[in-house]
């Protein structure tokens, strides 16, 4: 039967593709781009629909032109901070009174515009320990709403185990991946300023965002402490990318924070316009939306992957499709789930899982500690345009680089911004009422500045996901069961994050009005990593340095699940650089008949 692909042609499911890519986010989009550029015939499978986000996001709609000022209808419910801290998953069941239950991010201002992008928790339950799991099932995945901070890892991360003795080194070094970071920079566009920090390598930057007054004050003060505040390194084409007809340059409209991310002119990278549509134009790509992949199929004679089976997400029909290579790019947790689901007589613990490490070494970034304050000299100084840009600033890691902290290993960075926003920062927190209240809100609106930390959570075998023996999702597929908890290192790091955030503000003469020290529920950073890690030793890792399964040589896992450690940098740029490198290798191997 015909399926609604929103203008994309229906793919031929009877032919054998060179490669089947499962998932269409940053990793899946990149795989489609690189493999089609090598002339391979690629089938891209996405569980969600193709959504016209350029129409849905309405980035420049004023709050007062929306009936609920950007908020969701009353029969939609976004899970709150308390629900994740008090309750255990599943956070919603099919009989919930609400039409749709979403993750916490839909509590942000402007959630109505992204309410169809994120999954309905009623259909996608999970069990186990507390976890705030944010998922987006649509063409492009979470790149439709991502936060855009785009950072490189360095050998401080790739060789962290050699430096401090904890965990495993990555099977690659910075020199291996640097040329691919360059390719990603040039193909997709990234905004930033060169700082020459060995632990946070520079990209090939387009024009940086400009800093406002409180941010410059903090930058100058931090410089005296030997620390670096740099303009936010945003995966945004501030000067445009001339080879891509689907994207615009950035016009600093400043609505970037309003609608759970998302850029309706596609200056910020998203996988469909940045990677998938250009790949489609090569004539080598086929796309099947509404394809919920259930299993990687195995050829029992060769032990290799022969394709995948999927369920049409809407009409529930079952399908199989064949490929010479299978690439999992369904996200860290969904790719692990898929490997565990793919049990056969040859692979009783799940495909590619002879090591027993699939689902394990689950790590991410800790979040929570941060600080808010104001600059006295800016109080009552009138109204400036401070947020006409994709984001504010980033404070680079400064812990455990040259010295060794006695309380914890690894490091953290801060994201933040200052200055005036459309909705005054202090409107809710300012006490009182009347003329005085109103004046205070006005006077402080441009003087506020805040930042929050992102720190490395150590990869530990004991933190893992497996399949729940009973609970299934709407498609009858067993769901993930979480076993994840922060450890001593995370708690010690969080305490330090909170303390240093406050110190840095005070050192800059910023009056601190609020500081947080508590960790948020695991999952909050939306940076889940490490469930199918890379390595040279097949007993301790799932894939090799080319993200190729140790057990099944035509199976590749090209998303964040392969990261050996979380580092403290936001992972998207690394996911794409690694995927590019692996797909170059895959294409070469396929050509040589090695797969």
């Amino acid at each position: 039967m015909a399926i609604d692909q929103q203008g994309l042609p229906e793919p031929d499911l009877t032919k054998t593709y060179d490669a089947i890519v499962v998932g269409s986010g940053a990793a899946g989009g990149m795989a489609a781009h690189v493999l089609t550029s090598h002339g391979l015939q690629v089938l891209l499978l996405e569980a969600g629909r193709k959504q016209p986000i350029e129409r849905e996001l309405k980035s420049m709609q004023w709050p007062y032109d929306h009936p609920r000022r950007g908020e969701m209808p009353p029969d939609y419910h976004a899970l709150g901070y308390n629900e994740y801290t008090i309750r255990q998953p599943p956070y919603a069941t099919a009989d919930s009174q609400y039409k749709k239950v979403t993750s916490y991010i839909q509590n942000w201002n402007g959630a109505d515009y992204s309410k169809d992008i994120v999954v309905n928790e009623k259909e996608h339950p999970y069990t186990g320990t507390k976890y705030a799991w944010v998922r987006a099932r649509l063409l492009g995945g979470k790149t439709a709403i991502w936060g855009r901070l785009s950072l490189r890892l360095s050998d401080y991360d790739f060789k962290a185990a050699s430096r401090d003795g904890y965990g495993e080194d990555w099977p690659i070094s910075y020199a291996d991946i640097a040329p691919y970071y360059d390719k990603v920079d040039l193909y997709l566009g990234i905004s930033g300023h060169r700082e020459n920090l060995p632990w946070l390598p520079d990209s090939i930057f387009q024009r940086p965002v400009r800093l406002n007054r409180s941010e410059v004050l903090l930058r100058e003060s931090l410089a005296k402490m030997g620390r670096t505040l740099t303009p936010y390194r945003a995966g945004v084409a501030t000067d445009g990318v001339k080879h891509n007809k689907y994207r615009s340059r950035c016009f600093g409209r400043g609505a970037c924070d309003r609608h759970v991310g998302g850029c309706d002119i596609h200056a910020a990278f998203d996988s469909p316009t940045g990677l998938i549509y250009p790949a489609n134009d090569t004539g080598h790509l086929s796309i099947r939306t509404n394809a919920t992949v259930r299993e990687v199929l195995v050829d029992t004679n060769t032990g290799k992957a022969r394709g995948v089976s999927f369920i049409d997400s809407e009409d529930m029909t079952e399908h199989e499709v064949r490929g010479r290579a299978v690439l999992l790019a369904a996200s860290t947790l969904e790719s692990a789930r898929l490997m565990l689901l793919s049990k056969s007589s040859l692979y009783p613990n799940g495909i590619g899982n002879s090591s027993g490490h699939v689902g394990h070494n689950f790590c991410e970034h800790i979040m929570g500690p941060g600080v808010t304050g104001f600059v006295k000299d800016l109080v009552g100084k009138g109204h400036t345009l401070d947020d006409g840009r994709p984001a504010g600033f980033y404070v680079a890691r400064f812990r455990n680089l040259k010295e060794r902290n006695p309380k914890f290993i690894r490091g953290y960075g801060f994201e933040g911004d200052g200055g005036m926003k459309m909705f005054p920062t202090t409107a809710y927190s300012t006490h009182g009422f009347g003329i005085e209240y109103k004046k205070k809100v006005r006077d402080y609106a441009g003087a506020m500045i805040g930042m929050g930390g992102f720190g490395e959570m150590l990869a530990r075998y004991e933190n893992y996901v497996d399949l729940d023996p009973e609970v299934k999702d709407r498609w009858g597929i067993p769901v993930l069961r979480f076993h994840i908890q922060f450890g001593d290192n995370e708690h010690a790091m969080a305490a330090d994050m909170g303390a240093t955030a406050k110190e840095m503000f005070e050192e800059a003469g910023i009056e601190v009005v609020h500081s947080d020290h508590e960790l948020l529920t695991p999952g909050w950073s939306i940076h889940e990593l490490g469930t199918a890690r890379m390595g040279n030793d097949p007993k301790k890792s799932v894939v090799n340095q080319y993200q190729q399964s140790h057990d099944v040589k035509n199976l590749f896992v090209v998303d964040g699940s392969t990261h050996v450690s979380a580092a403290n940098q936001n992972p998207t740029w690394t996911i794409m650089a690694l995927c590019w490198r692996s797909c170059d290798y895959l294409a070469d191997q396929l050509r040589k008949g090695e797969l």
Binding site: M60, W62, P63, Y64, P67, R68, R69, G70, P73, P74, D75, Q97, H193, R207, P208, V209, R210, L211, N212, R213, E215, V216, T230, P231, T238, F251, G252, R253, G254, A255, H383, T384, L385, D386, D387, G388, R389, M420, M422, F423, P424, A427, Y428, H431, G432, F433, G434, I435, Y437, K438, K439, V441, R442, A445
Partner: protein
């Protein structure tokens, strides 16, 4: 050039302030008629006309008209609160508002010997001040109602046309040729707003 802009803005705000004052005067001359007369176009869906009039005046005490910008009444905050409560499926805020508005009148009777709408501007402020006395950790039902009352008034006001453009004089949400601010590449400030 910026002087020119400031002057124009000032004139615009002054004109709106005058209009708001005129409406207030008309209402005073209304002989104690309902406060709803200030926003005749809106028919409340959740509030009764009396409750709506009270909510309208209450929000104005929280965010009043001042020399810089009109307040909550002009920004139709009570109408927005009514709209959201009317469509809400959650009984907690709906019951909270019905009970809360009754408490406001009772408190006004106690403090002023008059309902909130009959009270003078100073008496109204005294009522809200009593409710706001313990904002840090509200304990009495009146103090707890003040939390939601203020939150919704603030939300409605600073997302309104008046709140964004007149009070905050927000300059963003426009297409910019270049970012505004300090540029790390040249170490210079670029404060002019250039539109493409």
């Amino acid at each position: 050039m910026s002087d020119e802009l400031d002057r124009r803005d000032f004139v615009r705000i002054a004109a709106i302030g005058a209009a708001a004052a005129a409406t207030g005067a008309a209402q005073d001359g209304d002989g104690g008629g309902t406060g709803a007369a200030t926003t005749p176009a809106y028919t409340p869906r959740f509030f009764t006309p009396q409750e709506y009039a009270l909510a309208d005046e209450l929000t104005e005490v929280i965010i009043p008209t001042d020399a810089e910008s009109p307040g909550a009444k002009a920004a139709h905050c009570a109408a927005y609160i009514d709209y959201r409560l009317a469509e809400s499926e959650d009984p907690v805020p709906r019951d909270g508002w019905r009970a809360g508005l009754k408490m406001v009148d009772a408190l006004s009777q106690k403090l002023n010997g008059a309902t909130f709408l009959q009270a003078t501007p100073q008496q109204r402020i005294a009522v809200v001040a009593a409710m706001a006395a313990n904002e840090e950790s509200p304990k009495t039902p009146e103090e707890k109602f003040f939390e939601d009352l203020k939150h919704r008034a603030v939300n409605a006001y600073y997302t309104s046309k008046i709140g964004i453009h007149q009070d905050q004089q927000y300059k963003g949400n426009v297409y910019l040729e270049e970012f505004v601010g300090w540029d790390a590449n040249d170490g210079q400030w670029h404060m002019q707003i250039k539109k493409p």
